[in-house]
């Protein structure tokens, strides 16, 4: 087996909260996460708000400094690499943001926005910057003649394409896409997913695709990691996760999605309550406060993320579910 493109081991991010009179508290946003992404592979990072998926993504591109653990990219430890050492890395590792309205500078033309990564990294493409930018705009399905327009002249879907063109400018090997389609209308969302799929195949890009929508992830990712309260609870190949999930949380998440192909109320697993606060996560298994199978051992011993009951995926649960989903 070849060396993975990206390896994440025991990644931790704690945010200190300046509390009141008590000792300063810690928000355990990401609390020990391990995964790998091979070249050209797409990994989906899914979970509900507050599970730490965005924080993880931001640490990967080093927009946030990890509190602990290790990130290795192509064999190099980049966990705490400094600015200078990061520069070559930035070429290989890019990010696409969720909000296409906030992530583009309204005072810059599209041409300037897409050319910025080239300029910052002092790259002079053969044929000139302008030609390269036109090529990129065309690649993401925009009219290259719109080079001199400003972001406000574009719709949400087109702006997201601009963000994608910018991420592709340096020919990265891995792209972290943080909810790239969740701000878009349904019909536009499908256009952008298809575009990302096509680019992924043609350019053999690796992706860490962060999303809360499991249906979207199913159409884009080969492997899927499900996060809950700062930890990965289940990770494996797409078909294993969607057809025979073992973690009760994954099952609950899948059955909560309203499916347009089924009319009327479905036999859902009903989770009660909310996700607990990451300031003071439950002991043992973090899902136990909402889990219908929880026993004493779930409160005392944290389940390890290992293969269980002959499943091909890794599951962190003492009482994994069995069998295929209906």
């Amino acid at each position: 087996m070849s060396e993975p493109l990206l390896r994440v081991e025991g990644l931790v991010k704690h945010f200190p909260v300046r509390g009141g009179w008590r000792t300063p508290a810690l928000v355990r946003a990401v609390d020990g996460v391990d995964f790998e992404v091979r070249a050209g592979e797409t990994l989906g990072l899914v979970g509900e708000s507050g599970c730490g998926k965005t924080t993880t993504g931001r640490m990967l591109v080093r927009l946030l400094e990890p509190s602990g653990g290790r990130i290795t990219f192509e064999g190099r430890d980049i966990t705490h690499a400094r600015r200078g050492a990061l520069r070559p890395l930035r070429q290989d590792l890019q990010i696409i943001f969720q909000d296409p309205f906030a992530s583009l500078n309204p005072r810059h033309t599209v041409g300037r926005i897409v050319a910025m990564p080239l300029q910052v990294n002092g790259i002079k493409p053969a044929g000139g910057v302008k030609a390269r930018v036109r090529e990129l705009l065309e690649l993401v399905g925009l009219n290259p003649e719109h080079y001199n327009r400003y972001p406000h002249e574009f719709s949400g879907g087109q702006r997201q394409r601009i963000g994608i063109a910018r991420a592709l400018a340096l020919q990265p090997k891995l792209i972290v896409a943080d909810e790239p389609v969740s701000a878009l209308d349904v019909s536009i969302q499908a256009q952008v997913i298809n575009l990302l799929r096509q680019l992924q195949r043609e350019l053999d890009l690796g992706f860490v695709f962060i999303a809360h929508d499991l249906a979207v992830v199913r159409h884009f990712c080969q492997r899927v990691a499900v996060m809950y309260l700062g930890k990965i609870v289940e990770v494996g190949d797409r078909d294993d996760i969607y057809a025979r999930p073992q973690h009760p949380y994954t099952r609950a998440l899948l059955s909560a999605i309203p499916d347009v192909n089924r009319l009327g109320p479905t036999g859902r697993i009903r989770l009660t309550g909310d996700v607990p606060t990451p300031l003071d996560p439950p002991s043992g298994c973090r899902f136990r406060t909402r889990c219908w199978k929880a026993q004493e051992i779930c409160a005392s011993t944290e389940p390890e993320l290992v293969p269980r009951d002959g499943g091909r995926q890794l599951t962190a649960c003492h009482f994994p579910e069995k069998g295929d989903l209906a």
Partner: protein, 354 residues
């Protein structure tokens, strides 16, 4: 000046909207946000209004509640709530209906709740406005009851907390409690679960269904999510460019859709079933600008079948007409047999979701 009657006994639908038009005059020209939409909702039934941004679905609901600023908005047509036409009625009169006979649940509970007042005070205020004789204690008791009814644990304690002390799902429950405090007959929910996580969304949708069964209220659910519609709606209205393009029972619209736009929406939704590696089938292009709506059928620039009628799709606005099946209305120039054939041959079998 005679006021609106308190409640007229009426056998027909609780809400009837006829040829509703809403126009905003802007410096760039007139925006026809809603252009001739009609629908009705019975007690105990849920109408799902589906559309993308700019389709006019939220503007429609604000018109029903009389929330448009008359200085900037021209509303015409008829909106009958419990038998009373409210279009053009003075603000004073509509205010007496709003909150008592009809109430709204907004998308973002954090911006719809006031951060400065406790949750209980806000719910109690909504109650006392319509029950001027009620004492503070009665209003408080009523608020506690409702918070408990919508599933907030320890309501007597939570009532004195502020919105920021509630989680997203709890806030949405508090807002539902506030909407229900006067037992409204009509509840309008505008994207009530869009800001919520999917496990919490499931809880809120269940709650709305339970409450409807208990109070027999008419509900309008506005959403872009066809999955949500398929789960809770009885009837569906699909809007595009300020007009209704398809209308019927949830079975008719989602199982036997006849409008190419509805087909497009269904095919572009990623699903948990079917081939995961198949490309989604998006609708090309972008939703139209309401200032400069395409002539003829507003959907024609994005429609794959627009050329099958000569120039008709480009020149004539298609009327919403009943198809063979009773209660199913479609606004499309294609002939019905052709629509059925196209759906059976190209749509029902293709796409990633089947």
């Amino acid at each position: 000046m005679p006021g609106l009657p308190h409640q007229r006994v009426d056998d027909g639908p609780y809400l009837r909207v006829d040829d509703l038009k809403v126009r905003f005059d802007t410096p760039d020209g007139a925006v026809r946000a809603v252009d001739g939409v009609s629908f009705a909702v019975d007690r105990g039934r849920t109408l799902g209004i589906v559309g993308e941004s700019g389709s006019g679905k939220s503007v429609t609901s604000l018109a029903v509640l009389g929330l448009h600023d008359p200085r900037r908005t021209t509303v015409s047509g008829e909106i009958r709530v419990g038998g009373r036409d409210i279009v053009g009625r003075p603000e004073e009169e509509i205010r007496r209906l709003r909150g008592r006979d009809m109430a709204m649940i907004f998308q973002d509970p954090l911006s719809a709740l006031h951060p400065y007042y406790s949750v209980g005070r806000q719910i109690g205020e909504a109650y006392r406005i319509h029950h001027p004789d009620a004492s503070r204690r009665q209003a408080r008791q009523r608020s506690v009851d409702l918070l408990g009814r919508v599933g907030i644990p320890q309501p007597a304690k939570r009532i004195d907390q502020y919105p920021h002390e509630f989680s997203g799902g709890m806030r949405q429950r508090a807002m539902i409690a506030m909407a229900l405090v006067n037992d409204p007959d009509l509840l309008i929910a505008d994207e009530p679960t869009t800001a919520l996580d999917v496990t919490v969304q499931a809880q809120i949708l269940d709650l709305l269904a339970d409450l409807q069964a208990e109070f027999n209220s008419a509900i309008i659910l506005i959403t872009h999510d066809l999955g949500v519609v398929s789960q809770v709606a009885h009837e569906v209205l699909v809007m595009y460019g300020g007009r209704a393009v398809e209308h019927g029972s949830v079975e008719q619209v989602l199982r036997r859709p006849q409008h190419p736009y509805t087909w497009g929406l269904l095919a572009s939704v990623p699903s948990l079933r079917g081939a995961a590696d198949a490309d989604l089938v998006p609708i090309g292009g972008n939703p139209p600008s309401l200032i400069n709506l395409p002539p003829g059928c507003a959907f024609h620039p994005r429609c794959r079948y627009a050329d099958r009628n000569g120039d008709r799709s480009r020149t004539d606005v298609p009327q919403l007409r009943q198809v063979q099946e009773r209660g199913h209305l479609v606004a499309c120039h294609l002939a019905e047999p052709e629509r059925k054939r196209l759906y059976a041959e190209q749509i029902a079998t293709a796409g990633a979701d089947r």
